[in-house]
């Protein structure tokens, strides 16, 4: 019985109001920006010195 009930349970897409997905994405973007600028100037250093 219990098994059958489990099977009939439908997957529901509920966006949790306490979700911090956007924050996670934002800090990753921020980190990527820092890495890209750093590597760009590091490349200039390697080229010049």
């Amino acid at each position: 019985m219990a098994k059958a009930e489990l099977k009939t349970n439908q997957k529901t897409e509920i966006e949790n109001s306490s979700s911090l997905k956007g924050t996670l994405a934002s800090v990753f973007l921020l980190g990527a920006f820092i890495v890209v600028t750093w590597v760009s100037v590091y490349y200039l250093f390697v080229e010049r010195f």
Binding site: S18, G22, S26, V27, L30, T37, V41
Partner: protein, 555 residues
């Protein structure tokens, strides 16, 4: 929006008067310093010369001292004084008297230093590096500014201590805690600049000694110079952490996280001055390396702050029904200058911080050192992130203190002002960054360098800076109009001093955060660890001292 019961709490009118006194000085400095900045960009374009024998280095000194030292110190002290008053229930008469004494000493010192700069006796730029030698009254004036700021800060500490005594076992109000952290950091940091001024520059400029040890004075300056930039930044963080959430109708993501990040700033922003001296001979590279590591530690609380702010915004947006990855961004109150103006400052801190990590990296410093990139960098940090936040604060704090209202028209003008500022700075600071990467020097009156081919490549960037500088000057005119309106002409009324509360009120901040013996002990240990051995080395292996130089033209 959930208005807490404290919404109507007002800063005591007697405290408001002292805060406003600070702001009058700060905004006067902004007006005059801004004009100097405009003139600098025009001179550097190579198309225009200063009239009446006015010297480029003189206006550079006026701009740097007024913007970097006077505007910031007076605004910060005025804001923190009001924030402590608002969140602790007001200053005592003794604290208020102390604050006024500090204010007047700072003002007298400012006038002394300013007089010497105007008389062309002190065109030593705002870093006043030896062996450039100014008139002794300039150094004495700066001493007054620093000592005055200690007394001014002591007023905040007195009120905080009284609150702690009256509320045993309770974590102090967040804004007061933050203000005291910043004041304490300032006092520790200014010990360095006070030491070089009192023991080196004053005796030398008075003629009591003939020479000065340049490296010692520069090391003491940068012991102060780096925490100085955090002294500018932390009041902006106070607004971002503890005021902005209330303005948007949200909550502080975590009160404890905010406190921890401030403690980390106290610990890691001081023992890092060598990263400003990476190209200087006479300092053992191993100690430079150590201080670079400590510098990188400051990235931790900066990123904690970024995370916390994103989280505050996302939580608020989702509570308003926003969905998707970035849906929350759209529902933020973009029509409210109290939010939008500091927000532009926050966003500017992303490229500003990224540039800072480049500056502090030993190898990359060789690419950008002493180029105008560095000028571009601190015009993003101090002159965009920090001052836009200060402008945003003043749009509600000035009417709160003067018993007036931020009108719709002024709110709109505030938002326009911030965009004007942002666009002007994108031109000016952006061009400075690129010109710096091409090798264009900072602190130089010359533009064409006798027709040099390389210098010719920099001219388009210099012109972009003149365009940006002109737009920024329009921004300064706008902010002065708003300030005068809010101080004298806006309609009478009550403007809220927004103070946010934490999302989880059951999570009481750990009392260890208020254990000053612990944090001051760790701060002292880190400073001694990072500086003692290299400083002994610098003194013991010092070259002969230098006599003074006055490289600028006299009247």
């Amino acid at each position: 929006m959930a208005n807490s019961t404290t919404a109507k709490v007002k800063v005591d009118p007697r405290d408001a008067k002292l805060s406003m006194a600070h702001f009058f000085v700060a905004f006067s400095a902004l007006a005059l310093g801004g004009l100097m900045g405009l003139l600098q960009t025009l001179v550097r374009s190579g198309k225009w010369e200063l009239p009446w024998g006015i010297d480029y280095y003189q206006i550079l000194t006026v701009h740097g001292v007024l913007m970097g030292l006077v505007l910031t110190t007076f605004f910060i002290m005025g804001f923190q004084y009001a924030a402590v008053s608002r969140t602790t229930g007001g200053h005592s008469n003794a604290a208020r008297r102390t604050g006024w004494i500090g204010f007047w000493i700072m003002l007298v010192g400012t006038l002394m230093a300013a007089t010497m700069v105007l008389l062309k006796e002190a065109s030593v730029l705002y870093t006043f590096y030896a062996p450039l030698k100014a008139h002794w009254i300039f150094y004495l004036g700066l001493t007054f500014v620093i000592v005055g700021s200690w007394i001014d800060g002591a007023a905040q500490i007195m009120t905080y201590a009284k609150w702690r005594k009256n509320n045993p076992g309770q974590p102090s109000p967040l804004l007061s805690f933050m203000a005291v952290i910043n004041t304490v950091m300032w006092i520790i940091a200014t010990l360095g600049v006070a030491a070089t001024v009192l023991f080196q520059l004053l005796p030398w400029s008075l003629g009591l000694v003939d020479t000065v040890d340049v490296l010692v004075s520069r090391t003491l300056f940068w012991y102060f110079g780096h925490p100085l930039v955090y002294f500018w930044l932390l009041p902006a963080y106070m607004c971002w952490y503890a005021i902005i959430p209330k303005i948007i109708g949200g909550k502080i993501f975590s009160d404890s996280l905010a406190r921890l990040s401030f403690i980390l700033f106290l610990l890691f922003s001081i023992p890092v001055g060598f990263h400003h001296q990476l190209t200087e001979p006479g300092i053992d590279p191993a100690w430079k390396f150590l201080q670079v590591i400590l510098t990188f530690m400051v990235i931790i609380p900066s990123l904690m702050t970024a995370f916390s702010l994103f989280a505050t915004f996302e939580r608020y947006g989702r509570s308003k029904g926003a969905t998707g990855l970035f849906g929350w961004f759209k529902v933020l109150p973009w029509g409210d200058a109290r939010f939008t103006v500091p927000f532009i400052g926050m966003a500017s801190f992303i490229p500003a911080g990224a540039g800072g990590i480049i500056n502090a990296s030993n190898q990359m410093d060789q690419v950008v050192h002493n180029t105008i990139w560095v000028t571009g960098h601190f015009h993003l940090t101090a002159a965009t992130s920090v001052v836009l936040t200060f402008f945003g604060i003043s749009y509600w704090l000035v009417p709160h203190l003067t018993g007036r209202k931020l009108t719709k028209a002024m709110n709109k003008l505030g938002i326009i002002q911030a965009w004007v500022w942002f666009i002007g700075m994108a031109f000016m600071s952006g061009a400075m960054h690129f010109q710096g990467l091409l090798g264009g020097p900072r602190r130089s009156a010359f533009s064409t360098y006798g027709g040099s081919k390389q210098a010719a490549e920099w001219i388009p960037y210099q012109i972009a800076q003149a365009v940006g500088g002109t737009i920024l000057f329009i921004g300064i005119i706008l902010v002065i109009i708003i300030f005068i309106n809010l101080a004298f002409f806006a309609p009478k009324g009550e403007e809220e001093f927004p103070v946010a509360v934490a999302e989880n009120l059951e999570e009481k901040a750990p009392m260890v955060f208020e254990n000053w013996k612990l944090w001051l002990g760790i701060a002292a240990a880190l400073i001694l660890f990072a500086y003692t051995i290299p400083f002994i080395d610098i003194i013991q292996n010092a070259p002969p001292g230098s006599k003074g130089f006055q490289t600028w033209s006299k009247w």
